[in-house]
């Protein structure tokens, strides 16, 4: 029992000292600890630091539809290639691309061209599209689940990046942007009080397209929604506004224009976008710059289409349709759209950060003001200190010297938990503070078990040494089993819990692990050192 070698004593002290030292930087302001060689920090959760939490969910239905439409376009293009394969009745009904073959002899050729357009998807060994021939003349191309999942996955990765770039432009402190599950993104911005601006910024996909306007379209047909081949119909802001290309458009119908399906250029070719004031009207406009390749393409197209209008389309709605006065060289220009400074600035940020591959919707939102956060920290710290004092006094009057040792363990345990939390780069939340307080309560349970056992053994008439030895030995098994079950519920909370439940579970689990060490090993060492020195015949417990 009294065998407790010096190296063991030193390593226990050393180990605890290191863990406690890791907690130190968290007590000082961040600027001060920056220069320290090691400075792990406990992050404060939004509920303590104040800030905004947004849970975004992607609307993937549009993505899926777009993908099918794109496939249909590619099929048409592929079949037109020489030697031409005649097809008809291309539809995208029911989320599938389907078309008829006019010449059955070309079946194998067509199949070959189609199979080149599909690739393996994910690790499933499945292809991304499933090709079937019905009645030996009709091809049906169905998107496979693996293919759709892969498309969604890559769109979400892209979206996460775009969200990050857009939020970075706000210049806020340390935002956290994490993908969650298949179609969600969690955004946490500490210190942000008003999430309105943030939501405005994330609310648009900002898909910018420049398309030529079809000026030859029949206005009467347009008004009833009939589009010329190769065109698409888009609503126009106002028929009376500048640049409306059609004379004699029915005044009682909502204004629309027909544009060529194929874009001259898209937002992907942008290298820069920023707010400017228009030199004539002084109204805010968004100035943009294309990359070299895009700039050339734009110059060529404008050169070929002088005196014709082109439409600037954002997220499927026309912003304006200016006339091409002359070739636009140099790859730069401005978008006028009756902006306010704020909306122009938002658009510039959105364009520069790229279009979102999917539309995102806010499905959960939590904001905590800095005042409440500060109040919560203050209250939490106050409650913890009072809890420690109460528990310490209670242990002292109940177990005397043994209570004192348990108290050392409790105080050290609090610091050790903080150290471990800092090293793990953990986040302390308000429920986490509750976890602390609860750990203070449960950590002494181990010592209660040991001390009660020692009392029992003493009552049975055992010697001091024997009682202490048996006390630790017998109680250790119970402590292990009790903590195991406690840990089970902690792990369940960590894995299945959401938000506050997780924050609580982290502290609880760390606390269970460290408290076994401080409450059993550490106090045992203190007791042994004392017994060895004084060899008491009787103990007050």
């Amino acid at each position: 029992m009294l065998d407790f070698p010096r190296w063991k004593v030193l390593s226990i002290f050393g180990f605890l000292a290191v863990l406690m030292a890791l907690a130190i930087p968290s007590f000082f302001p961040e600027d001060m600890t920056k220069g320290w060689p090691v400075h792990p920090r406990i992050n404060l959760g939004l509920d303590l630091a104040g800030g905004s939490y947004l849970l975004l969910e992607a609307d993937t239905s549009q993505l899926v539809t777009d993908r099918v439409n794109l496939m249909s376009d590619s099929v048409a293009t592929a079949m037109r290639k020489a030697p031409r394969i005649d097809v008809g009745d291309i539809t995208t009904d029911g989320g599938k691309v389907s078309f008829m073959l006019r010449n059955v002899a070309q079946l194998e050729d067509a199949r070959q061209r189609l199979s080149q357009m599909t690739t393996g998807a994910q690790m499933t060994g499945q292809r991304d599209w499933d090709i079937q021939v019905v009645d030996s003349t009709r091809f049906v191309i169905t998107p496979t689940k693996a293919g759709v999942d892969e498309a969604i996955d890559s769109a979400m990765s892209g979206a996460t990046e775009v969200v990050r770039r857009r939020i970075d432009s706000l210049g806020t402190r340390e935002p956290t942007i994490i993908r969650q599950g298949a179609t969600r993104i969690v955004v946490q911005v500490p210190g942000l009080q008003d999430p309105t601006a943030l939501k405005e910024l994330l609310g648009k996909t900002a898909k910018l397209e420049f398309k030529l306007v079809d000026t030859t379209a029949d206005t009467a047909k347009l008004a009833v929604g009939q589009s010329p081949i190769g065109d698409q119909i888009l609503p126009y802001p106002s028929a009376a506004g500048r640049g409306f290309p059609y004379v004699g458009y029915p005044a009682n119908k909502p204004p629309v224009i027909a544009v060529r399906r194929a874009a001259i250029i898209t937002g992907q070719d942008l290298t820069d976008a920023r707010v400017q004031n228009d030199s004539q009207t002084n109204a805010p406009v968004v100035a943009f710059q294309f990359n070299t390749e895009g700039g050339k393409r734009f110059a060529r197209t404008t050169q070929e289409n002088v005196n014709k209008p082109f439409a600037i389309i954002l997220d499927g709605s026309v912003i304006s349709a200016p006339n091409i006065e002359g070739p636009i060289l140099g790859g730069s220009g401005v978008i006028q759209g009756g902006f306010t400074f704020q909306s122009a600035n938002d658009l510039a940020i959105q364009l520069k950060s790229g279009a979102l591959p999917v539309a995102l919707k806010v499905i959960e939102e939590r904001t905590v003001g800095p005042e409440l956060g500060k109040d919560s920290i203050d209250a939490g710290i106050k409650a913890s200190i009072i809890a420690v004092i109460l528990v310490v006094l209670f242990m002292l009057v109940t177990y005397g010297r043994f209570g004192l040792y348990a108290n050392y363990a409790v105080v050290i345990n609090v610091l050790v938990i903080m150290g471990v939390l800092a090293v793990l780069n953990g986040t302390l939340t308000l429920p986490g503070i509750a976890g602390f307080v609860l750990t203070i309560g449960t950590a002494v349970d181990a010592n209660v078990l040991i001390n009660e056992r020692i009392r029992e053994e003493r009552r049975r008439g055992r010697s001091v040494m024997q009682s202490v030895e048996l006390g630790y030995k017998e109680a250790s098994r119970t402590i292990f089993e009790a903590n195991m079950t406690h840990a089970i519920s902690g792990v369940v909370m960590l894995l299945l819990g959401s938000g506050p439940v997780k924050g609580f579970a982290v502290v609880l689990l760390i606390g269970i692990a460290t408290s076994v060490f401080t409450a059993v090993t550490f106090t045992r060492m203190l007791v042994v050192l004392w017994l060895r020195k004084h060899r008491p015949q009787t103990i007050n417990i």
Partner: protein
């Protein structure tokens, strides 16, 4: 210095004899708790039903009726108001706007914030939660799943480490604890939110902790006094561990009371749940799970040793409680 002993050394309460009374009372209380949940319903927070919750701090205690009128005039749905943490802080609950526009929620929040700031000088927004129906449904499901999985895993653990009777009695006792906690929330109409799920899981963890300690002692005594009647063994074990049970519960209650009084209003529901859970859990350890072992027919007959070290290894001759 004379040390404090909350439970006197020679305590020997016949808990087992009390068990029919205890079962009756427990059953009655549990039925009452379930009935309360069905009749009163839980006051579900926005976490679980969706909606908007705004917490506003005022310079001086406002008239709740006036605040209600200001919010009602905005026509953003039926508001329910509640004082939280003190007379100057109000929480305002609103239904989620029925609109697919993602900005709709925000507009409501902005409207309320602006109206309050205009009508009450110095009114300050301190917190805002908006949860969509979809997310709240998932949160409910996750919460239930977490509780069920935790109970099952712990039951399995108890069966694995002890006899099956321990697993069953523990799970029954824990279900009792959870139901009582739910009943408490139905009775008090305290808001039931995500924090409370954490509290319920912690109660489960704590309560099981308590039961394992007693179970462990029962197992130890079963091996030590192979001839002793099961009732006596259970009585002995519960009495032997009683000082520890009381001591630990009191310590945790001390810490929790500190949290309840000084921890701020955000954690109040959580702490209240925990305090109730500690009391209920301690009760069920003594009266429900241990006594249930007899009903389930646990016998002290020699059984193959489960993992858990037999006490004979210490080579110590033990003395029964009568010899103290």
């Amino acid at each position: 210095m004379r040390l404090l002993k909350i439970v006197p050394d020679d305590t020997n309460i016949d808990f087992v004899r009390l068990r029919y009374w205890a079962f009756g009372l427990t059953t009655l209380l549990t039925i009452a708790a379930v009935a309360l949940v069905f009749i009163h319903r839980l006051n579900m927070g926005v976490d679980f039903v969706g909606g908007i919750m705004i917490e506003e701090k005022f310079m001086v205690a406002p008239s709740v009726d006036k605040v209600r009128k200001v919010v009602d005039d905005l026509k953003v749905g039926e508001a329910s108001l509640q004082q939280v943490g003190g007379p100057t802080t109000l929480s305002i609950r609103l239904p989620r706007p029925e609109s697919n526009d993602p900005a709709a929620t925000n507009q409501v929040v902005e409207k309320v914030k602006a109206a309050l700031a205009a009508n009450f000088a110095g009114a300050q927004f301190s917190k805002q939660d908006a949860v969509s129906g979809k997310v709240s449904g998932e949160l409910v499901w996750n919460g239930i799943l977490a509780v069920v999985v935790a109970v099952l895993l712990i039951g399995l653990f108890a069966i694995f480490r002890f006899e099956w009777q321990f697993g069953v009695s523990t799970v029954v006792a824990i279900m009792h604890d959870v139901l009582m906690t739910l009943g408490f929330f139905a009775l008090t109409q305290l808001e039931f939110d995500l924090n409370i799920v954490a509290a319920v899981l912690t109660i489960i963890g704590y309560s099981i902790n308590d039961k394992i300690v007693i179970d462990d002692r029962i197992r130890e005594n079963m091996r030590r006094y192979r001839k002793m009647d099961m009732r006596e063994i259970i009585n002995l074990s519960v009495n032997e561990t009683l000082p520890r049970t009381v001591m630990t519960s009191l310590t945790i209650l001390l810490a929790l009371v500190a949290l309840l009084i000084f921890g701020g209003h955000v954690l109040r529901g959580f702490t209240a749940a925990m305090i109730l859970g500690v009391i209920v859990g301690t009760y069920s350890s003594i009266y429900v799970s241990s006594s249930l072992l007899i009903t389930l027919g646990l016998r002290a007959e020699p059984t193959p040793d489960k993992p858990g070290k037999p006490n004979a290894a210490t080579g110590a001759e033990r003395v029964g409680p009568g010899n103290n």
